[in-house]
Each structure stands twice: as C-alpha cells, then as structure tokens.
C-alpha cells in the first residue's frame, strides 16, 4: 500500500512541480500525470521545458501509429514551459512504448532530412549569388530620380580607426 502511494507520488506531476518549486530543483524532463490507466494504455505525459516545437511534431508522429486511438497535446499555460501529451492506445497496448517508438521514428525522420539537405548542399546544384548591396542600390535609385546630389552623403564613407 505504502509502495503504491509512493509510486503515485513519483508520477504525480503536480506534486513534483510543487516540490521542485520548494527545493529549487529542475523538474523531471517527463512525468506521467495522475489518472493514467494502470497498464499505461492511456496516459497524459508532462514534458518539462518543451513547447509546440517538439509537441506538435511528436503528436503528428504518434498519430501515424496505427495502434493509437487518440493523441493530442496542449500547452496548459503560455508562461509555464511545459506541454501535456495525451496518448490513448487500442487493445491495452502501452502508451509509453508508443512514445518511445515515436521518438525513435522522429529521430529517423530528422536524420533523413539532414542527410538529404547535406547531399543537396554537397551537390552544389543551385544558384550562388552575392547579396544585394542595399546602400549602392539606394544611391543608384536616388541618382536616377534626380536626388543624387542633394542627398547628404552621411553614412556613405565610414571612418573606423
């Protein structure tokens, strides 16, 4: 009995957060909110120090899993740097395993994108140009409109010792 309450306390995000505020320690990266199914077939994870950047990408990847009944995420409050990620599984499968799988899949996806990007960069099959010289362009435009001489050449020549 004591064990199970202790366990619940470990996974109780509200408790962890409060404790962290009191002790000034960083909250755990990931916790499971109270109210999850005992077999973890439906749980809400709390990811600390994360936002829509990872939340939405992860949500999409989890939804790509055929064993997932529901997945959604929310940022409970804009000034709290955390997100809640809800996963519900079919056939009492584990949402934790699903999350692990999705993280691994997301890593595969990103490394694939990176490889392709670097391949494209190495192929050198693109336009290489110089930047537009804005100062020169402005000067030329002004001159063409007849403003060239009247304009103070203030920021024209820079004297740096």
């Amino acid at each position: 009995m004591a064990d199970s309450t202790q366990q619940a306390a470990k996974l109780d995000n509200a408790g962890t957060l409060q404790a962290s505020v009191l002790a000034g320690i960083i909250p755990d990266k990931i916790t499971i909110l109270p109210g999850h199914e005992p077999d973890y077939s439906a749980c809400t994870f709390c990811l600390a120090q994360e936002d829509h950047t990872l939340g939405n990408a992860l949500r999409w990847m989890i939804m790509k899993d055929a064993d997932v009944e529901f997945c959604g995420y929310s940022a409970p409050h804009p000034s709290e740097p955390k997100i809640h990620l809800r996963i519900q599984m079919y056939e009492n499968l584990s949402a934790v395993d699903c999350l692990r799988k999705a993280l691994a899949n997301l890593r595969d996806l990103l490394t694939t994108v990176k490889d392709k990007y670097e391949l494209s960069l190495a192929s050198d099959d693109f336009v290489r140009e110089d930047d537009v010289d804005v100062a020169k362009l402005v000067k030329r435009t002004l001159a063409s409109r007849g403003f060239g001489d009247g304009v103070e050449a203030d920021e024209d020549e820079i004297m740096v010792d």
Binding site: I32, L47, T53, R100, T112, K116, L121, D130, V160, D161
Partner: protein, 349 residues
C-alpha cells in the same frame, strides 16, 4: 519519386472567399484499405530537399514530403533555439552622449557578433562569475573632439573627430585562449558600420561589455536568423482553354513569369502555366466572370519553400543542420527522461 502535384489530397484549395482542405488526412484508419502508418522507407523515397539559392547571407531551399509540424519545428528552432553570442551585461563607466545609458546598452545588446557560439558554453547563472569559456569582453571607448582648422566648416565629419560611434569601434579584450578556440579569428561585430550613437565635442562613451551565449527564446537579440520562414508551393490548374481575347488579361492576373502564352501544335496561342513558384496567390483571377470555372488555385500541402536569412553569426547553410541537431537533442532528452522515470518507478515499487 515524389507524388504528383495534381493529387487532390496534396492540395490546399484556394477559393475566392476561403481556403479549403487545409488539414492533412493521411493518418492510419482514415482511408479504408490504405496504410498510412509511419514508414521510413516510403518517407525516404518521397522526401526531397533541394537548395535553390545561396548567398553569403541567405539560403532558399525546398523541403518536400514532410508534414507541416516538422517544417514548423525546424522554423521555430532556427528562430528561438539556435544559440548565439550577444552582449548581455554592460558596465557604463562614462556616457555623456545624449543617449540614455539604458538605451545605448540595449543597442549594444542587439549587435550581431561574429563569434562561433559552438566554442562557448552557457553561463551557469546570471550571477556567476564570468569565465573565458562563457564570456567575451568588449570595450567601447570613444571621445569626440574638435578638429583643428575646421572653422567655417558645417559637415560634422570634417569638424569633429569620432562624431559617429560605429560597431567597428568595439574593441575585443584580447584573450589568446579564446582566439585559439575561435580558429585564430578575433571576435568582432558582424558589421563594422552600424551607427550606435552620435557625439559632439567633449562627449564620450566608455563602456565595458560582456557577451554571453543565449537563445532567441530568451531574447530576440540571440536569434541567429533575420528571417526564417516558409510558404507552400502555389499550384495552378487550368480546367479549360482560355479564349484568345482574354489571354492577356488572364496573364495579367498573375505575377509576371507565372503564366506564358505559347503556340500549340496547330499554331494557335494557348495559356500555359510557366512557373507557379513565382505566384503570390493573389486570387485576382477568381474575381473575373470570364475565368469562372476555368482555373483552380491551390497550394501543395507538403511542399515547403524555405527562406532563411542569417543575421551573420552562422553561415546560412549551417542553420538547418544546427536546427536538426537541436531537435535531435530534444528527442534524446525525452528518452533519457523516460528511462529515468521508469528507473525511479522500478526502485520505488
């Protein structure tokens, strides 16, 4: 090879008064008999990443075959999470210019610094003592004086010494260890010609600046990009021939270069879509009665045209790999957190 742009499932409809078919529907269980679960091989086959244009400050590239959530994650990381080094703390020993201390200090903070952020670590806390591993020091000491023999002159440049204070006047406090780590290059502002403040004879600024590593999430001055954005590839479908008398008008409904008028095999002029990429999707064509039902506008949902402009701390082509590395770090952080959660769980039980 990639899927056809004419596939209606890939299209976000651009209708006269609204957009339609916005969200992707290709998830497991949505279409009976179709498998849309994650498949790395299929993803690899469909993915296209091709750089279109590279300049010293910007990179433009296409990313085809990813979901908006991934594309957006990359954009968000580039803006807010790739670290750079910027002036964070300033000791104002003297400032007799007309600009208030705090305004001038704010301006100093916004200067992009040419310092490789990968060679520095984050400061432990705002109050911890600076260390040459986490802090780069600059001095700004400028005094304005009258030039001799400038009587009757009205140009401040000719009348005074150092009447303009530029970023190039920031002097790095030499630290050989830092120089070695930066590959022999002295830390400096990206642009030496940004005007910070103007002085008049007798006025001076004397400031001691501490630059630290930080991210755009904390303050926009740390953001390594001036812009990082994407748009979806426009797609124009002609549903029937445009009568010859309206062809020029049709062409003018689009940005120049989007629509061309070419002769077909019988020698009669026909409207063809030349380069939809240039289109701004203004929907002008949908306002005219004579083109009703003849054209369909849309955007390709998974074809992203990125435009990334570096603020100067990184080379533009380095930003995407950096962003991906940061996302990968986020993933492994969560994995470690999961391990820890269940490790604690096991010991508690």
């Amino acid at each position: 090879m990639s899927r056809s742009n004419d596939d209606p499932r890939r299209q976000v409809q651009v209708l006269p008064e609204r957009i339609g078919n916005v969200a992707d529907s290709e998830f497991p269980g949505h279409y009976p008999g179709e498998d849309h679960s994650w498949n790395l091989q299929k993803f690899k086959k469909n993915l296209i990443c091709s750089i279109q244009r590279l300049t010293p400050s910007t990179v433009e590239f296409d990313l085809v075959g990813v979901d908006a959530s991934i594309a957006n994650a990359l954009r968000r990381v580039m803006i807010a999470e790739i670290p750079t080094v910027a002036i964070e703390t300033v000791y104002v020993w003297n400032n007799t210019s007309i600009m208030q201390d705090e305004v001038l200090c704010h301006r100093l903070g916004l200067i992009p610094l040419k310092i490789d952020p990968r060679e520095l670590v984050y400061k432990k806390s705002a109050n911890s003592a600076p260390h040459d591993r986490d802090t780069v020091v600059f001095d700004l000491r400028v005094r304005c004086d009258k030039k001799d023999g400038s009587k009757g002159e009205t140009d401040p440049k000719k009348m005074y010494h150092d009447s303009n204070v530029y970023t190039g006047m920031l002097q790095w406090q030499v630290n050989e260890d830092q120089r070695k780590r930066m590959g022999g290059e002295a830390p400096r502002p990206v642009d030496p010609d940004i005007l910070l403040v103007k002085l008049r004879p007798g006025q001076m600024v004397d400031m001691h600046c501490f630059a630290n590593k930080g991210t755009g999430a904390d303050h926009a001055k740390f953001s390594p990009v001036a812009t990082a954005s994407y748009r979806l590839l426009p797609h124009i479908k002609l549903r029937g021939p445009i009568p010859e008398e309206h062809q020029e008008k049709f062409q003018k409904c689009f940005v120049p270069g989007v629509i061309a008028i070419k002769e077909d095999e019988y020698g009669s002029p026909q409207v063809v879509v030349e380069n939809p990429r240039k289109d701004t999707v203004s929907r002008e064509v949908l306002r005219h009665k004579e083109f009703e039902g003849l054209v369909e506008l849309s955007r390709i949902r998974d074809h992203f045209l990125y435009n990334v402009e570096s603020a100067g701390q990184y080379r533009p082509e380095e930003l995407i790999p950096e962003a991906i590395d940061i996302l990968l770090k986020k993933i492994s952080d969560v994995e470690v957190g999961l391990d820890k959660l269940f490790e604690d769980d096991a010991t508690a039980a």
